[in-house]
């Protein structure tokens, strides 16, 4: 009789678990984790200031008050940019935390529940060990459902703002930083052009050769910086694409197909981010 009652109760618990579907949020967690890590990349904001600092040496009026004011403004922009990136990182990290499967360990609470069950003589109906296991599974399932529900509300509600923020960020990286780096390249080309013209005038061919070599190094360096900004832009594109996909398929976030898709976004973002570091 006791066995029948045990089987019935455990069966009921297991049916509940199957019906509610203990969820697997690893896809969301990994996508959010990798996205948070990559969004925080500060190489661009740092170089947005550094490009002006590097050019100070090229210009005899690099210490002029107007140049200092230009630099001060750029430093303020860097601070705002870093702070904005951090807010995006905070959001993505919060999603990661909410999607974490090991968010809570129930051992202590289950001990308490087991004690309460023993005190209430529940052991007459159900073996305490089995009760503990069933209660643990149920606690996990209810928590999972709660986490899934929260993610389903939060992600679509934030998607518009996420897309807009990433667009603004991409514009600053691609257009503003891109033009500033192009300005630096042009200034350097002109600077070396003048050194070469002056060397030719004085017939110092060795100096011309040195200028050509130094220019090549600077050009390579700036091309690398441009490549980094394009890679960061691709990272941002992937995050935006992944978040939009997640929103479109919010009811399927625990399905195998969506987990695979999110894992693919995470892999691509990770690989692009590796190239940045």
């Amino acid at each position: 009789m006791k066995t029948n009652r045990e089987t019935g109760a455990l069966g009921f618990v297991l049916s509940l678990i199957l019906l509610s579907g203990c969820v697997n949020l690893t896809g969301v967690r990994e996508f959010a984790r990798v996205s948070a890590e990559s969004t925080g990349f500060q190489g661009i904001s740092q170089d947005f200031v550094a490009t002006l600092e590097r050019r100070k040496v090229l210009e005899s009026n690099g210490t002029a008050p107007d140049y200092e004011s230009l630099l001060r403004k750029r430093r303020e922009i860097k601070e705002r940019l870093d702070a904005s990136q951090q807010l995006l990182v905070d959001y993505l990290s919060a999603l990661e935390a909410l999607a974490a499967n090991d968010l809570v360990i129930y051992n202590d609470e289950l001990d308490a529940a087991e004690k309460s069950a023993a005190a209430a003589n529940l052991s007459n109906a159900l073996d305490l060990r089995k009760y503990r296991a069933a209660a643990g599974l149920m606690a996990r399932c209810f928590t999972d459902i709660y986490r899934q529900r929260k993610l389903k509300n939060i992600i679509p509600a934030a998607n518009g703002a996420v897309q807009e923020s990433i667009e603004h960020l991409k514009t600053i990286v691609k257009e503003d930083y891109g033009l500033s780096i192009q300005n630096e390249l042009d200034e350097i080309e002109l600077y070396f052009g003048k050194i070469t013209a002056s060397a030719q005038e004085r017939q110092t061919e060795g100096l011309t050769m040195l200028a050509v070599l130094a220019l090549k190094d600077k050009r390579d360096d700036l091309k690398q910086k441009s490549a980094t900004s394009r890679a960061y832009e691709r990272v941002l594109n992937k995050i935006s694409e992944g978040h939009a996909d997640l929103t479109r398929n919010i009811t399927k976030i625990t399905t195998k197909e969506m987990r695979r898709q999110l894992a693919s976004y995470a892999r691509e973002i990770k690989s692009l981010y590796q190239a940045l570091k």
């Binding site: 309460s116 109906a125 603004h168 003048k194």
Partner: protein, 131 residues
């Protein structure tokens, strides 16, 4: 007071100043031998000023873009707060104890084989998690 320019307009102006700076610099190099040192200095100065103007408008474009970015981020901050609150709800020890207690009650109800008591027990567990 908001900037009368859009970020796109500011960036276009930055591009125009950059093109002008480049033209002045190229002219200086192309006519190097014909120019006096004073003229070279003057042209160099003009070239730098044009590059500075370009960078100044890049700064303005970024500031306008950042205004838009910060505006969009307000909703994201609120979403992050909601997610963090949800994490706190799940991780709260007090809550987990309540959940465990409600599970005990649920188990009791399940074993009494009373559908009404089981439904109430389930609701209690769900309410604990939702609260």
């Amino acid at each position: 007071m908001s900037d009368p320019l859009t970020a796109e307009q500011a960036l276009k102006i930055a591009g125009v100043f950059k093109t002008s700076a480049l033209a002045v610099g190229r002219f200086t190099i192309a006519h190097w031998q014909e120019l006096s040192p004073a003229e070279r200095k003057e042209l160099n100065h003009n070239e730098w000023n044009l590059f500075h103007a370009s960078e100044d408008f890049i700064n303005r474009a970024s500031e306008i873009e950042l205004d838009g970015l910060e505006k969009s981020l307000k909703s994201i901050v609120s979403a992050a707060e909601k997610a963090n609150r949800a994490v706190k709800n799940v991780t709260s020890v007090k809550k987990a104890v309540s959940i465990a207690a409600s599970l005990v009650a649920l188990a009791d109800a399940m074993m009494s084989k009373s559908p009404g008591a089981t439904a109430r027990g389930l609701k209690r567990v769900y309410d604990e998690l939702k609260a």
